[in-house]
Amino acid sequence: MAKVLVVTSGKGGVGKTTSTAALGAALAQTGQNVVVVDFDVGLRNLDLVMGAERRVVFDLINVIQGDAKLSQALIRDKRIETLSILPASQTRDKDALTAEGVASVMAQLREKFDWVICDSPAGIERGAQLAMYHADHAIVVTNPEVSSVRDSDRIIGMLDSTTEKAKGGGKIEKHLLLTRYDPARAARGEMLRIEDVLEILSIPLLGIIPESEEVLRASNLGAPVTLSSPDSPPARAYAEAARRLEGEKLEVTVPVERKGLLARLFKGKS
């Protein structure tokens, strides 16, 4: 039975697209069929972060408007066979994203894949609402920073009221993904602590992604960080978060750089 996940936050720039790509790749690496769907109509970027930008032919809106079949718009990842991306449209107007159209595409995706991961646009407007509407699970991406926490709180409110699940009297499963976390600064009292954020938002913690230069490197290269540097702290944090999504009970820790300088030098040569 397919699971539909929305990666959302309210605030922009907190790491939704990075997280969508990294979690999608991590889940697909276990052999499951995964599709990552870009809902940011007008400003698509998931294709770029995934390194598929040169291969986009058709997009979500083309499928909704009947100009292309879903199978024609799906781009298969060149590194992981079980990973696909459905790009957002770049130029068309946002009203082209209709509720019925999205519902039909989501139903088709549910049949084809084990995981459907929807990368929400920032904000709380229609695009964000449509991205979350069909979700069974929501990953709320939050930075340990006041405005991000506040926006996450609003998004959590929306998840509990305006989604299909909520309207049917059910509950969408919510998970907190704390990104760009800097343990040293938190220890010095310069950054909101994990416990503070958890207490304020009171949803279960899916993972803590440490601030890392590997994330920028991954986006430069057009590869999910879980593929570009699988041993790096953020990649390990995402991989563990993916295992939690699959139901594994793992204690949440903040991964740290594993090896000393020498070990890394030797590894780099092998």
């Binding site: 770029l48 390194g51 930008e53 040169r54 291969r55 986009v56 032919v57 058709f58 997009d59 083309n62 100009d67 292309a68 079949k69 199978s71 024609q72 770049q90 130029t91 920028l216 490197r217 986006s219 430069n220 290269l221 057009g222 300088l261 890394r264 030098l265 780099g268």
Partner: protein, 91 residues
């Protein structure tokens, strides 16, 4: 990281040139009216299919259009799954 580390690690760290190249290729395509690109591809696909359909029955779902935009050259690939052909010699 120490001076050593950044020196030795350099070859694997220089991802910025890759980012620049990727953006240049992408933006070159997006700035020159990419809005028409999918229309063009749609037309190409429709017309090519039309020609093929005169000879073979083709299932719309069995047509895949692939594209790889390059710096100076792009590759357009149209895969059409052709059903078992009946040759005149067959019973």
């Amino acid at each position: 990281m120490s001076l050593f580390g950044s020196f030795f690690g350099r070859s694997s760290k220089t991802s910025a040139p890759v980012a620049r190249d990727r953006l240049q290729i992408l933006l070159a395509h997006e700035r020159t009216g990419n809005g028409n690109e999918s229309d063009l591809l749609n037309k190409l696909q429709a017309e090519i299919l039309e020609v093929i359909k005169r000879h073979i029955a083709v299932d719309q779902d069995k047509v895949q259009v692939k594209l790889d935009r390059g710096n100076s050259v792009s590759m357009l690939e149209i895969d059409i799954e052709v059903p078992q052909m009946r040759h005149s010699g067959q019973p």
